[in-house]
């Protein structure tokens, strides 16, 4: 339980960084941390005590894998989610660089021209 909770703490820290920090790069870091937390949570959810990786090795019976293997589905989800995170990050960094070129600063409070 405490492990689940700690990953939620990590999420909250990421979101805090995302919302409260003024620096654009810090905001990106916030999103990256939030993504770590969700990936961590998913993998934790799929773990089993004394579990083995969900890969059938040579000479291993399927029954052994069923008995001991950790949940493979969250792992597939996490792989997808890592890629999505990478995509978001690429777009964010591109936006961030472009904004730096236009505004000559990373400070969100100075960039603020729109009223919201």
């Amino acid at each position: 339980m405490i492990l689940y909770f700690l990953s939620l703490v990590l999420l909250v820290m990421g979101l805090y960084c995302l919302i409260a920090k003024k620096n654009i790069v810090k905001k990106i870091i916030g999103i990256v941390i939030a993504e770590y937390s969700i990936n961590l949570f998913l993998v934790l959810v799929g773990y089993r005590h004394e579990g083995i990786a969900p890969i059938l090795l040579k000479g291993m019976q399927t029954e052994e894998l069923v008995q001991k293997g950790v949940d493979p589905l969250p792992q597939a989800l996490v792989l997808t989610s890592i890629v999505i995170g990478l995509g978001t990050l690429a777009l964010m960094v591109a936006l961030c660089l472009r904004m730096y070129e236009k505004f000559k600063t990373f400070d969100m409070t100075k960039i603020n021209t729109l009223k919201g």
Binding site: I55, V93, A94
Partner: protein, 165 residues
Amino acid sequence: MDRLEQEIKDTSKGMTPIVKTVVRFVIGIIVIFGVYIVLYGHVTPGGGFAGGVILASAYVLLTLAFGKEMGLSKMSNTGASLLDNSGALMFVIIGLLGYTGGYFFYNFLGKGDPFQLFSAGSIPLANIAIGVKVTASVFAIFMALSIFGRFIYKAAEGDESESEE
């Protein structure tokens, strides 16, 4: 090899000769490892995505060590985007080929024996498609970002900065 030797001695571009020499030896191993990860994704840990990123990071390493001209000489931005598009298209086509079995994304090839390279039907094909796609797109995005990053300071006019695919 002559050109590579020259590149290594040329201190105006990229990092120090030590880094360049090490990179020269390591790069082949990284590429082979990446290809292995892509091809054997259905048997061992790894797969198209991880392998693709490894392959792309070989290019990234080359670019960091030798300067962007070296990286671009191996794969131009246009080539990268072509590969990117065709990798993605290939994956959709694999999905559509499933209609030969009656369903979208039906595994239309024979299963084969487990633990072999040519087994698991369309999975290795899909791995290759994704590997190509990821390599190209990660390389393209790295090039675009790093070239653009430099141009913020230089603000010089150059055709690379066009970052049009």
